[in-house]
Amino acid sequence: MVLTLFLIITLTFFLVEAQPGDYASFYVLNPDLPPEVKDQIRAAFGLDRPVWQQYLIHLKNTVTGNLGVSFGNYPRPVIDVLAERVPRTLVLFLTATAVSFYIGFFLGKAIAWRRGGLFEYATTISGAVLFTAFTPAFALMMIWVFAFKLGWFPVGKFLDPLVWRGADVSANYVFGNMLLSAGAFIVFALLVMLLLKRFGRAVPSVVALPIVLGGAAVIVAAWAISGIGGLALDIVKHMVLPVATLTLISFAGTMLLTRNSMLETIREDYVMAARAKGLPDKQVRDRHAARNAMLPVVTSLVYSLIFAIDGSVIIESVFSWPGTGLTLLQAVRSEDLPLVMGAILFIGVLSLLAHVVVDVLYVYLDPRIRYQ
């Protein structure tokens, strides 16, 4: 899978190389650059050497994180620009994927379990429509309804300058801390669940929810008294609509897949056996039918993740959300080639990560693979 990355790097390099003005000239002809910087770049990128050497240098530079200097954000290095934007994409994309997977799986198993009926019909139709809806148009419609007509959420962008005027902290600082708290919360919740599982039925699961909610309350309270809670809230407000849109367009895939997968596992003998054992209906559905139906759904999660990566490029551009996708688009529009290459590289890294995560998850979920 590292090959994918290698392929992207190689492909972009040679495509740029094949341009009328070669790779070298893109750097050197940039009018914004002072002459001594040009010389530096020449040396750093080996632009005076043969192509294959340039390619090797390019590879080495890429691997060591030296992605060059962005034209559009001169003199910020590409890696700097991306370090700021990648987390923003990650949050958008991970939240949406997690939520849409949960919703899709939940609805999918419900409609497979109670076949026929209005509910199945309605969810399948609306799922299919959302799945095939033209993403930009749908995103714009969401903006129109929830931002313009209802005015619940801001129209786009990452934050509202009016709120931030006079703030003595940077957006990155606030956002970084938000990420930290979210991470801490997730770790906390997982720990609680793990401990509960450990003690088995000795502790009723009703206890879990208050503990987890309590943890959330502590974090929220900490933000409230920190003085920058308002700023964080502003970012959250800007996040809701893009996340919701991305979720809506991608849950249907999971839902339909879960449903099909579930219809197959329902016919399996172990589901019949679970029912024969006298297990409650819900337990038969969740612990046996759905648990097994999840396996192929997780396998295809790779595709949904990549679908969501592409989707987030569109969503980011419509919502002006300054993540990797929007960066890529702006870089393409302003012919800021180093940034283009950096952005696509990171999108490649994202899809690579998606693969790794899915593989690990699958191994965790399927004992037949685990013990091979």
């Binding site: 003998d269 209906d281 037949r368």
Partner: protein, 330 residues
């Protein structure tokens, strides 16, 4: 309280049909039998004659396409067909458990085998704590001849015979009054089959549990059961003490089945071949369903369903019973 001498299970006039694309398929017609506490009943017949359907009726595990058109299933005098779904759920496994026909996939591949048995024990509150439940599973594993360490393994690590033993352990886990074993050894090789069969018989006697043993293999049924019922085309065509039925079968179908598995009792009898196939249950023949394949069929067989003939507890449905001591009643 119930009298110990009353039968544990009494099935009366059970009829079941499936809605299929070809129309209504009568899988069971007017099946009646009794099963005494602690005894073993066999159900034999070719594939497709309704044995599994009877078992599923007793568990009330029927697909949506199935319709129970008549009959009662009395467990200790209580008609389980009238129970609510929730009452039935609590009765399953606790009172009646089942070893399924396709036992290879009965264990859920994603959980440890022991855990799947613990799950049943906990659902029915047979043991109050988890360690006790685990201890019970270990005991059951020993009973069926499995190493208790195997409880921590996953189904795919088990061989076919081990899985079948684990499934039997699972069926025993809640001390059921009745265990239904639906062709429990068909998928296994002969040696393993034989060993499991004998162990099953031992366990049944040891626990004084009632057993319904379903098989198309008449030799196996002869070995394990006290009473046997022979099914053909959804009907119970002959029933009686295993010894009686196999010593002197009254129904030509039973005789034909026996001759295709020679020398159970060592006695020689004329070999009656069994050509053809069981009828299509969507459109069964008129009269006795066996008449197209029966060497003794006469005109009356083709028109009217035969009356029951009896001698003591041995009964059969045939116009021309092979054992003349069986005579119509009333």
């Amino acid at each position: 309280m119930t009298d110990r001498r009353d039968p544990l299970l009494k099935v009366e006039g059970l009829s079941l049909s499936y809605q299929t694309r070809q129309g209504e398929l009568q899988a069971i017609r007017d099946v009646s039998f009794e099963l005494a506490r602690g005894s073993a009943l066999g159900l034999v017949g070719e594939s497709g004659c309704g044995k599994t359907s009877v078992a599923n009726c007793l568990m009330r595990l029927l697909p949506d396409s199935a319709r129970l058109s008549a009959g009662r299933v009395l467990l200790d005098g209580q008609d389980i067909l009238l129970l609510t779904e929730e009452e039935m759920r609590l009765l399953r496994w606790r009172r009646i458990s089942m070893v399924f026909q396709a036992a290879m996939n009965v264990l859920d591949p994603v959980y440890r085998v022991g855990q799947q048995i613990v799950e049943a024990i906990e659902t029915h509150g047979v043991e109050s704590t988890e360690p006790a439940a685990r201890e019970r599973v270990a005991r059951l594993f020993r009973l069926v001849g499995l190493d208790p360490k195997l409880t921590e393994h996953y189904p795919h690590e088990f061989s076919g015979g081990m899985r079948q033993r684990a499934v039997i352990a699972m069926a025993l886990s809640c001390d059921p009054d009745l265990m239904i074993a639906d062709e429990p050894t068909t998928a296994l090789d002969v040696i393993v089959q034989d060993r499991i069969l004998r162990e099953l018989k031992d366990i049944q006697q040891q626990l004084a549990m009632s057993l319904i043993y379903i098989s198309h293999d008449i030799a196996v049924v002869a070995e394990v059961t006290d009473v046997v019922g022979v099914m053909y085309a959804g009907r119970l065509v002959e029933m009686g003490d295993t010894a009686d039925v196999f010593r002197a079968p009254a129904h030509p179908y039973t005789a034909a089945l026996m001759s295709s598995f020679p020398s159970i009792s060592g006695e020689r009898r004329p070999l009656i071949s069994l050509p053809g196939e069981p009828p299509n249950l969507s459109d069964p023949p008129q009269g006795c369903p066996f008449h197209p394949r029966c060497a003794y069929a006469t005109d009356v067989c083709r028109v009217e369903y035969p009356p029951e003939v009896r001698a003591g507890s041995h009964r059969a449905a045939c116009w021309h019973p092979l054992d003349a001591t069986l005579v119509p009643q009333g």
